[in-house]
Structure formats: structure tokens, C-alpha cells
Symmetry: C2
Subunit: 241 residues, 2 copies
Amino acid sequence: MIVQSIKLACSNCNLRELCMPLALNEEELQKLDDLVTIRRKIPRGETLYRNGERFSALYAIRTGFFKTTVAAADGRDQVTGFQMAGEVIGLDGIVSDQHTCDAVALEDAEVCSMNFDLLEDLSREITALQRHVHKVMSREIVRENGVMLFLGSMHADERLAGFLLNLVQRLHVRGFSQSELILRMTREEIGSYLGLKLETISRTFSKFVEQDIIEVKQRHVRILNADALRLIVNNQGCHTT
Amino acid sequence: MIVQSIKLACSNCNLRELCMPLALNEEELQKLDDLVTIRRKIPRGETLYRNGERFSALYAIRTGFFKTTVAAADGRDQVTGFQMAGEVIGLDGIVSDQHTCDAVALEDAEVCSMNFDLLEDLSREITALQRHVHKVMSREIVRENGVMLFLGSMHADERLAGFLLNLVQRLHVRGFSQSELILRMTREEIGSYLGLKLETISRTFSKFVEQDIIEVKQRHVRILNADALRLIVNNQGCHTT
DNA sequence: CGACACCTTGAAGAGGTTCAAGAAATGTGG
DNA sequence: CCACATTTCTTGAACCTCTTCAAGGTGTCG
């Protein structure tokens, strides 16, 4: 757990548009910079926080890729999300002052730590920041609603197609390709997130490859036919069998 | 859509402990009362809000019972939650100023409408209220994490057992029995929530009845052996087959 | 009382899982 | 830099849970 006291500056951060999309004046930006003072590096495989740990801060991801998981009483666990640069994690800890899931770096990562008490103080002063915090939390609720729809009423190929489209869309917003991506997680982690076994993920990938919808070389995926994926998600992909 | 301008008073509300568990002074309570001025009655079967509708307020449920659903592009829909008195709904609308799910009353209901802009204004003034809003949203995120765990990695009997325990626990907090409950929703709605078909719900109920874990008379359920349900959820109920 | 929505149960079927084996990639230490 | 161990991925075959389809039963409300 490496904590560095490097002075950061939201005002200069190229992720601000994603992370803090606000129209702030000079003074407000300065206060924001004062809030986000600590940067933490999380090597691949290490946790940013764990279930049961005391909650004190939200984290804005600067670089890297995370998964969050919740554990059942008997040890089974479920991936609840994958998070990338510009996204905020740690919201689960607010309600009970304890984190209720684990956040694990899937590649070397760097996060900006935002002390939550200070964030609350500041968001009482800066209306736009208050609104932003509310939107970040609401967005997470809506995202989870979408996952529930996937898990509760979609087939394996629909889930995986939607997953790929979602990933590539988020990467595209960050300036990456619309059609190529590198998976930072294993088949097993994808499976856990989608409520499927790793073998099913592998088979479904193979099926998509056979249909010339994607190319797969290990973690490297190229989308050849995004429309086909969209049709599959919308359950109109039956005739393509 | 019946809107009444009845003057309400949080200060007198017997649900305040659930809905707004705050230590507020006289003046703050008065401001809260000013915020919550509109009460809406929603007859059974009607919607409080719909996907696509403009978002303007959160709703605190005074009486009655709701379900929320999200719809897929092809029409399939998924129940994302059941909400009862003292719970707050509408959080999904904050992020995009539009609701992204439907909220349907499963029995005649009454809600207190809280204009969200005013709520934000007030929560900048009252620290305890700000904190409370954050906790309500975080609680919803954590709840949905739990549902994802259910949907993603549990069997039919585990899901239903967990569902019953959760319902009865929430009812108990509200002063109802720990062992008896009346289901306000159909088997199909339970099934949708749990990612199962209504026949599976029915069969699993029957299985629990045969094992003397519960009694079922239509919507009326009596829990005879809560420990057995807990064992099932924790995946230690195998030997009871 | 009749119409309708809801629930139960059986039998057949499908989608995904489990088990197993081997291949490919990745990392480690000499 | 190569050999070896380990992790990850793919694919096949058998199996199982849940779904689908179907029919009949129960409760409710005008």
C-alpha cells in the first residue's frame, strides 16, 4: 500500500472531463485541487480496498483497470463491475462507513484519493460539485439496473455481446478504438460478471468468431460487425444462427 | 395522477425514523416540512413514474408497495426492486434528468414528493440531510450489488430463500411479524426479480412447503423454519434434499 | 355466477454447467 | 535465453437445472 503525497492538480488533469465534468471558476478549481491531494499506486493484483475495511474516501481512477467483487457467506464471489480511468469507485462504503466489496487492480493502476468528509464539505459550497456527486451515484444505480436486466433475462450470447459493446463504447469515449480492445480480465472474471461459467464465455467467443462477428486472439478482441452484436443484444439475432 | 396539496409534516411522521433518520433541530425540521409539501396517492396498478419521464423529485413511500422495472429494447422487462413504506424511490432519474425505470404501485399507495432541486438546496444547509441523501443512494448501490450476487451465482432455491428472508426482515423493522408475510407481488414478478420463471417460483415454494420450511396459502406465507432458509442461502442446505 | 387473473403441477426440451483433457500463453529461476 | 511450472484458454461429452408447453385448479371481482 504505497501512499504518495504528490501534489496533484485536477485543474491540469486530462481526465477531468470524465471524472469531474464541471464548469468551475478559478477559486473552486483551487479548492478541488486541495481536496485531491493523495495519489495511490496499486500494482496489478493488489486491492484498493476490501470488504469490511473502514470507508474514508472515494477514488478517481487515473490509470489502470479495476474489478469490484462481492462475496457470499459461503465464499462464492461475484464480480459486480469493471472500472477504468476517469471512473469513481468506493461508493459502496458510504452507507455503513465500511466497504462492502473488494476493489482489485487488474493492471497497474493509479488513483486519486478524495477524502469523503472533505468532499461533502466542499460539495456544500460548490453546487456544481454537489450535483456531480449525486449524478455519479445515480449513474452507478442505473448501471446496476442494466446489469440486473442482463443477469435476469438474457441469454449467454446476449450478455457477452452487450458486455463487449459496453466496454468498447467506454474505451472509445477515452480515445481508444471503436473496434479493437484488449481485455484486462480473464474469461472467468467476465463469466462471473455475466453470471456464466468461463467455459461458456470461451464457447460464446468461439461462436462469434465463427460468425465473423469478432476476431479473438487471447485477450485481444477486434469487433468486425458491431451491428451484429447490437442485433444480438436486442434479441433480433436469432436468424443469424 | 392525483396530486394533493395537503400540508404534511415530517416532524409528525411515524416513518421518519426509516425515511429521514436525522437528529434535527426545530428550525431544520421546519425546513424539511416545507420541502415535503406534496403527497400523491397512487392506486394499485398505476405508475408513480415511467421510463423516459422527466425527473424532478424523489419519493418517500408513506404507505403501499411498489415495484420498479427496467425494459430491454425488445420489450422484455426486469423487476429491479420492491419498495415499501419508509423507502425512497426515484434515484435512477438523477443522472440524466429522466427516469430510466417504471415505478408501479402493487397496492394502493401514498408517497411524499420531494423536489430534488429543493432537496439539494436544503442538503447544502443541513449537513445531516446531505449525509443522509448520500447514504440512501449508497444503500441502493449496495442492495443492487447483493441482487447481482443472487442473479449471478445462486440457484433457484437459494434466491427464493434469500428473497423471503429479506422481505420478512424489512417488514419486521416496520413492526410486522418475523414469520408471517403477505406477498404483494405475483409469482411472475418474484420470478422476474430473481431471474427465474414463475413456474420455478411456484415449484420452489412447493418444495419448501414439503420440507416444512414454510406454509403457503396463495400470497400468504408463514415461515416455519427461518434457520433452514438461512442455511439454504449460505449453500449449506444441500444435505436437506 | 361467470370471466379473468393467478397459481400449481407434469412432461419434454434446451441452455448452460460440470468434468476432463489438452493447447497456448505467461512467468520464474537457473 | 531457455526449460519448466503455472495460469489461462479451448473444446468435447455427459449431465442437470431451469424453461417451455400444456392442462387443470383456485381465488377474486364485477
